[in-house]
Subunit: 202 residues, 2 copies
Amino acid sequence: MKIVVIGATGVIGKAVADNLAARHEVVRASRKGEVQVDLEDTGSLGRLFQKVKDVDAVVSAAGSAAFKPLQQLTDEDFALSLRSKLMGQVNLVRIAAQHVRDGGSITLTGGVLAHEPMPGASAISMVNAALEGFVMGAAIELQRGVRVNLVSPPWIAETLRALGMDPKGGIPAVACARAYAAAVEGRDTGKTIEARKSVVSP
Amino acid sequence: MKIVVIGATGVIGKAVADNLAARHEVVRASRKGEVQVDLEDTGSLGRLFQKVKDVDAVVSAAGSAAFKPLQQLTDEDFALSLRSKLMGQVNLVRIAAQHVRDGGSITLTGGVLAHEPMPGASAISMVNAALEGFVMGAAIELQRGVRVNLVSPPWIAETLRALGMDPKGGIPAVACARAYAAAVEGRDTGKTIEARKSVVSP
């Protein structure tokens, strides 16, 4: 397959691209680099598919949302969260659905905060849950056998380590990447795939 | 209790106001009428609590979202859905949380489309799911014992009848109103309350 990974320079995106590159042709896209795309810029999404043709699958591991105590979240914090992680990925589905090959797939990134509250995470919980609802709803309307799924990662060990926290509270990026590979290479659609289940005990 | 019902002229809002008025002081607010408020106008939410003081509970049965096939949904359809039903109610929580009495409550309206896909409903599924995630996340951060919950209504019989469809596919508004009363008068917080469970067999 020919697979575009958006956010390929991030901790998760790089692991997903590396995993898929072992079996597929992978195009690594990000805000900077050879193939440029910015989820918040709908025009750049359209240009991506003018530049990269005959795509079988698109994976998004991009988009940001505000982490801040509820009473400190500003209107702009909510707007950013909706514009970037939510609508950036929703718009990717709207555009990619018209460009991927018949039977192709689109895989987005949500997160376990959709169902597990945490102080400071109300905007992220909102956005992650919204993505689950959208993917479920959009799946039954996509044409030409195109599939759409959402991977829901927990904390990633490498991210926790970078934040000076105990990496044991997360799963390794390589384990998380297996959930994306399952979404791309499997037959599911409309599903939220818990990345924690991709961790195989040693 | 002194309870403000926003959207009190709608099918659900009127039934909720009527139910609560049997046991409480109810202030009926809507875009037109004696007490005016528009969920899309954050300023009007602030003015509501300048005008109506000492509120114990706020119920929202207002906000709209676009129902249209995925490929026909425009950027503005998504923007309206986010601005009205989602952020209108999120902003209500942000503002009401500072004004309701200690131990007060805020009850929002989502819907079963959050978990039950239907052609044309992807934007609504997105918004309803987002509200579930937000309410779950916001609940653990609210101060002074303030609670927040979401009622998730199915189709309402009266609405179906007005659309020329079989009302048997829905529940009566009076049954739906009992779910809101349970949210206001109970002790739950952060919960999504399925209104279908409020239907008692005859």
